[in-house]
């Protein structure tokens, strides 16, 4: 395979919370030793429950959150040690789309101002060029050129997300982190934005890290999927392989829990008990073992390494070889 666009190795993001003069505080291991690549033109899905660290992981790749240790390489260049002066150039190659398009747009700036600000910051084009480019960007995301004069509150949620996408595209990035970009949208609007992402990916050859929790959206959009739990990778495989042949009990449980829009498929399933443990006090050994229906004593002892079980398919479970998790 050709050199990946983004390469992440043993990335850790730890936060200290509750530190005072009298207390050292608690370390929260939001991301705890994650490694994966994103290929050129690839859409990689990142799934997990809230608290799994998926948002922190996405942001740390762009250094919107500083990694604690590990490596992020973009086109072969180490990102984690870049001086601030060179971060700006990096961010013209990597962009992010947020979940809530209203919270991420400045309500006092017109859409045109928001988009041309991104161009100015990166010194792209003359003033006239920029006005032209703003119009092109709006068209590219399916909005009329004339809306450049209007303000965020004049748009519906779906239109605002289109603006959020246009802003990310303004600087011509090669890589986009899309953090739950359709989760806050109405059902009938989600499909429009998913189609837009599909079109842009095809036209621009974008690589995307798509963070989400809706497994049917992930399956539809992504080439490959990484399943995250408490800051660690449980399983990674091509989308087709992961959904047809999950090898980690957590992946199976996630697939089982997703409601199926077919009333005849109402079924009794393995329901995970309880909630995600606190990332400040993760269980020993396998972090999933406290909710795993297949846990044995040995699971508490060592952190299971990610082991290759098939073509581009890796799983972190000591029982992966003996469990049959197919439906």
């Amino acid at each position: 395979m050709a050199e990946p666009l983004v390469s992440i190795a043993d990335l850790k993001v730890h936060f200290t919370v509750g530190r005072t003069m009298f207390s050292p505080g608690t370390v929260v291991r939001a991301v705890d030793g994650v490694s994966f690549d994103v290929g050129r033109g690839e859409v990689l899905g990142l799934v997990g429950e809230s608290g799994s660290g998926k948002t922190t992981l996405g942001r740390s790749i762009l250094r919107l959150v500083e990694p604690t240790s590990g490596s992020v390489r973009f086109e072969g260049e180490e990102v984690t040690t870049l001086p601030p002066s060179r971060l700006k150039r990096l961010r013209s190659r990597m962009q992010i789309i947020f979940q809530d398009p209203y919270a991420s747009l400045n309500p006092r700036m017109s859409v045109g101002q928001t988009l041309s600000e991104a161009l100015e910051l990166h010194a792209i084009g003359t003033r006239a060029d920029r006005a032209e480019r703003v119009g092109d960007l709006l068209e590219q995301v399916g909005l009329p050129r004339a809306v450049a004069q209007r303000f965020p509150h004049e748009f519906s949620g779906g239109q605002r997300q289109r603006i959020g996408i246009a802003r990310a595209l303004a600087v011509n990035p090669g890589f986009i982190v899309a953090d739950e970009p359709v989760s806050a949208l109405d059902v009938s609007i989600q499909a429009q934005i998913i189609n837009l992402l599909q079109d842009l990916r095809q036209e621009l050859g974008l690589s995307i890290l798509f963070i989400g929790h809706d497994l049917s959206v992930i399956e539809f959009l992504c080439d490959r999927v990484v399943v995250l739990y408490l800051g660690r990778i449980m399983e990674t495989a091509t989308a087709a392989d992961l959904y047809a042949n999950p090898r980690h009990p957590y992946t199976r449980a996630l697939l089982d829990a997703a409601p199926v829009p077919d009333p005849r498929k109402r079924r009794e399933r393995i329901t995970l008990k309880g909630d995600l443990p606190s990332p400040s006090a993760p269980p020993s050994g396998c972090v999933f073992r406290t909710r795993c229906p297949f846990a044995i004593a040995a699971c508490a002892e060592t952190v299971p390494p990610l082991e290759t079980v098939g073509a581009r398919h890796q799983v972190a479970c000591i029982r992966a070889g003996e469990l049959d998790l197919t439906e």
């Binding site: 109405d186 959206v217 539809f220 909630d275």
Partner: protein, 339 residues
């Protein structure tokens, strides 16, 4: 259950809000029937009027901003008597709320009191409506926490909402809603803020409790997967009106309103053969934006987004056509949607 007949029958309900720019009609003549022990899913997007419908049943819309301007909300109480909640005096409504009719909201943190212990909040409901003593009410609170499968309930009764996870808090909300054995539970997007694994726990819990307690549920959601899991019948709402209603299997088998059809068609599903051939897949999205209740189109509310639209759709709001004795669709072309 006392008496026979529906538990709740909403007839031609109309609810309006007064805004700076004039009166907005959020609910425009809604009919819903909830039978005892059954679940009706009310499906809709933002601005469809689904939450306003539920708040109207609870009579929780502040007079200062709006209210019910027409229709009936017939509720059969524990005593078997049918009352119209639209005209029920406020003290009588207060006696019903949290007692015979309960509500669970989407975000439990905003509906729990952050300064009061969990157990005390549940006990308060029991003390208010069932006149239990302080000690008995606390005991009842712990029983309710046990019922909703909160581990170590005696200890959990003694903590505050912020010390619990989102899923636990939603269980507490359900415990509080069920504290007085309600005949009707209104659940407004109760699992939307939760992770799928926790959502499944809550749905299974609600199903089990319904079997045991026999309450009717009006379940408001936008998620068709959740509808398929929990509903007996479905009412699809758009622009303040019910556009289609049917038993759940019939609705999924034969959606007869273009909006319902569009919602089902826009769900992501993978065409494995096309993917293997390297094609970039597209979804069948519904074009346009959800209807703006301040500025609804003329005629059918869905007509600007509808691919079956004909001139007659722009002239008047279509009536409900009987697809089957149990299935109605508010579409002139309900019988021509195939293909």
């Amino acid at each position: 259950m006392a008496g026979t007949g529906p538990l709740l029958e909403i007839r031609d309900l109309v609810t309006e809000f007064r805004t700076e720019t004039g009166v907005v009609r959020a609910v425009k003549g809604v009919d819903i029937v909830v039978e005892p022990g059954k679940t009706v899913a009310l499906v809709g997007e933002s601005g469809s009027g689904k939450s306003v419908t539920s708040l109207s049943v609870m009579r929780l819309i502040p007079k200062a901003i709006g209210g019910i301007v027409g229709g009936e909300i017939l509720f059969r109480g524990r005593d078997g008597r049918v009352r119209d909640l639209v005209h029920e005096p406020e003290p009588a409504m207060r006696a019903l709320r949290g007692n015979e009719i309960s509500m669970v909201f989407q975000e439990p943190m905003t509906s729990l009191n952050p300064t009061q212990k969990i157990g005390a909040q549940i006990a308060e409901v029991a003390r208010l409506h069932r006149k239990l003593s302080r000690a008995d009410a606390w005991k009842h609170a712990i029983e309710m926490l046990t019922l909703v499968e909160i581990p170590d309930p005696a200890r959990r009764a003694d903590i505050y909402p912020h010390q619990m996870s989102g899923g636990m808090r939603q269980r507490v909300m359900i415990a509080m809603a069920l504290a007085c054995n309600p005949a009707l539970l209104i659940a407004d997007e109760p699992t939307t803020a939760l992770d799928v694994t926790v959502q499944l726990q809550i749905l299974e819990l609600m199903r089990r409790l319904q079997r045991e307690i026999g309450m009717g549920i009006l379940f408001i959601t936008h998620n068709l997967g959740v509808v398929a899991e929990i509903a007996d019948t479905v009412a699809v709402m758009y622009g303040g009106r019910i556009v289609e209603t049917a038993p759940v299997e019939e609705l999924f088998d034969r959606p007869s309103h273009p909006y319902t059809r569009g919602l089902l068609d826009s769900l992501p599903s993978v065409d494995h053969a096309a993917r293997a051939a390297g094609k970039v897949a597209r979804l069948k999205a519904i074009p346009g934006s959800v209807v703006d209740p301040r500025n609804p189109p003329h005629g059918c509310d869905f007509n600007p987004r509808c691919r079956w639209v004909i001139p007659a759709c722009r002239e008047a709001v279509p009536p409900v056509f009987p697809v089957s004795p149990t299935h109605g669709a508010r579409c002139l072309r309900w019988n021509e949607l195939d293909g």
